[in-house]
């Protein structure tokens, strides 16, 4: 019989890095081969920036600030949160297509598949952030903080997006079809991003919604970005809730919790799933 090919020498770490690189490459190739995915994930935030600026911008009055400056942090947060759902639908699609079955019969790291997925989606999210920032600058948004704070703002948005990708990847492996992820995430994330301080100041909301908005992690994310970009309207009074008072700590804590819970959960899930 012809000789079976043997693996090149390597330890667990180098194997993991190599497997992660190969699966990330695979996910990024999909973007190159199916550019519509990236195109739509870029067009939507541009559309949101323009729609909100020109449609609501005239009607919503933010004391001490123009609406665009107020709005951009909200759009950034909404876009990265929705962008992360792609990790879920892509996992569900791979499961359905049998690619996951193929990976699971190979002597590779299952965790690397998930790292490849979430990292690839982080790249997409970073690209859409850049496009949104360009669009924001064109319609009058300005960063009014130091470069370091600005970078911290970008980092916190992407960090949250990355952690949220792991949640979605887990959900993507738990549902029967990619459509479920798309529909369910729309139903859950739309209210979550809207009942927040993303598009309107939450202090003006009716009490139940205001309380929800103050505890809403999306609000904390928006507030963090707004602070770090220097876009908080002067005279804004933060809500009484702890997350509203400490948005950056809330987001970092949230990211830590999501990663601690969903990274092991996803890896364990991956080791048992099959079409």
């Amino acid at each position: 019989m012809s000789t079976t090919l043997k693996p090149i020498p390597g330890n667990a770490v180098s194997r993991f890095v190599s497997d992660g690189a190969v699966t990330t490459w695979r996910n990024l190739m999909k973007i190159i081969r199916v550019p519509e995915i990236l195109l739509f994930s870029l067009i939507q935030p541009i559309m949101f920036v323009l729609l909100f600026t020109y449609v609501f911008g005239a009607a919503v009055v933010i004391p001490g600030s123009d609406y665009t400056s107020f709005l951009m942090a909200g759009i950034f947060a909404q876009t990265v949160v929705f962008g992360s759902t792609y990790s879920g639908s892509a996992m569900a699609q791979d499961l359905k297509d049998g690619i996951i079955d193929r990976f699971r019969t190979l002597p590779m790291s299952g965790a690397a598949v998930l790292v490849g997925r979430t990292t690839g989606d982080l790249v997409i999210n970073t690209l859409s952030m850049l496009v949104m920032m360009g669009t924001g600058l064109l319609v009058g948004w300005r960063v009014k903080s130091s470069p370091l704070e600005f970078l911290a703002g970008v980092a916190i948005l992407l960090l949250f997006a990355y952690a949220f990708s792991w949640v979605m990847a887990f959900l993507g492996m738990s549902v029967k079809s990619p459509e479920v992820i798309n529909n369910a995430s729309f139903l859950i994330l739309f209210p979550l991003t809207f009942i927040s301080n993303a598009f309107v100041p939450s202090e003006n909301l009716p009490t139940p919604l205001r309380v929800f908005a103050e505890w809403n992690p999306v609000s904390a994310l928006v507030q963090s970005a707004r602070e770090l970009f220097g876009n908080v309207p002067p005279g804004t009074v933060a809500g009484d809730a702890w997350p509203a008072q400490n948005p950056i700590a809330t987001v970092l804590l949230g990211v830590a919790v999501l990663l601690i819970v969903f990274v092991p959960l996803s890896i364990r899930k991956f080791a048992t799933i099959s079409r």
Binding site: M1, S2, T3, T4, L5, P7, I8, G10, R15, S18, D19, V22, R26, M29, K30, R33, V34, D97, G98, I99, D101, R102, F103, R104, T105, L106, P107, M108, T272, S274, R275
Partner: protein, 326 residues
């Protein structure tokens, strides 16, 4: 110990809102080194579940399995270094080219970039995909996808190959092409476990056939042994008008030596003692009763008949196995 050995595999599923399904119900299987064993059975018999268990995709509720002495369920990663698996649906990345798919698999077997590319080139040639190698798999025909999927299973030249319904859904020409490829592999000494619902496929490719139904092996042997175990000649008739099938069945039962059975829609088959006499009697009785026949003939038992005799139902059914195997 056989090269592949599975003992008393049990796997149950509890789909929401429906009763528990016993996909594997004490399945025991042995495959000798360098042989081709076919798991033959209808959809839902447990073929795919067996392959999934042996390729480390699922863990059974109980039972044990060893490949070349390695415990499949305790050391899945060691098993993955010695098997190749090709599924019922081509599990290749649609958005990568054929060549890229094979390189990716090679990299994930940790062959290193150079060897992975070299091996991909070899396989592309072996599977006659040179022209298509730089096109994305999305544009491949069904037969080409199967070939690239099978090629993916051969990247490390594994000593053990699992093929789950390798030709299901393929047109006859692609099917024969794939058979030829599999036959070449077998000549190289690869041990193959394949599942099929096509008796012809098992007959052509396999040294040994295990007939499987309801999650158990109900008979095993070579194709000839299985046919001999059923014995005797068969008379098969095909009626013109489907509504006359019951009347035709009565006639077959009267002149046959056993149960008559409907093979597919309008074709009936029955075991007989003295072939020519029984055939003449059946044809003349049908004519008397005014039952039009498209076709009537005698034949040696096929694996179809074996299956029919063993399970009481025909081998090829249309409902999907994926439900029970999910």
């Amino acid at each position: 110990m056989a090269f592949i050995e599975a003992r008393d595999l049990v796997k149950t599923y509890s789909p929401k809102g429906s009763p528990e399904v016993r996909a594997l119900d004490g399945l025991t299987l042995e495959v000798e080194k360098g042989s081709v064993t076919a798991l033959l059975g209808p959809n839902g018999a447990g073929k795919t579940t067996t392959v999934k268990a042996l390729t480390t995709l699922i863990k059974p509720d109980s039972g044990s399995a060893f490949i070349d002495g390695v415990d499949v369920f305790a050391e899945p990663q060691a098993i993955r270094r010695m098997i190749g698996a090709s599924g019922q649906y081509a599990a290749v990345d649609q958005n990568l080219t054929g060549f890229e798919n094979l390189v990716m698999v090679g990299r994930l077997y940790h062959l290193g970039a150079r060897v992975a590319r070299q091996r991909a080139t070899e396989l592309i040639e072996l599977f006659d995909l040179v022209e298509a190698q730089n096109r994305t798999v999305k544009g491949y025909s069904g037969g080409m996808r199967r070939r690239i999927d099978l090629a993916g299973a051969l990247v490390i030249r594994p000593p053990v190959l699992f093929l789950d319904e390798p030709t299901t859904g393929l047109d006859p020409r692609s099917r024969i092409g794939l058979w030829e490829v599999i036959e070449q592999l077998v000549n190289d000494g690869t041990t193959v476990l394949l599942t099929t619902q096509y008796l012809e496929e098992a007959d052509r490719l396999a040294d040994s056939i295990s007939v499987i139904d309801n999650g158990r092996v109900i008979a095993k042997g070579t194709a000839d042994e299985l046919k001999a175990s059923v014995g005797g000649l068969r008379v098969a008739v095909t009626v013109v008008d489907e509504t006359q099938i019951d009347a035709a069945r009565d006639i077959l039962t009267r002149f046959g030596t056993g149960e008559s059975a409907v093979l597919n829609g309008r074709t009936l088959v029955v075991p007989v003692q003295e072939g020519p006499v029984a055939l003449a009697a059946i044809v003349s009785a049908a004519a008397t009763k005014g039952i039009g026949l498209h076709d009537a003939g005698m034949r040696r038992p096929t694996l179809d008949d074996v299956f029919l005799q063993l399970t009481g139902h025909a081998a090829e059914t249309e409902d999907s196995e994926t439900e029970s195997a999910a």
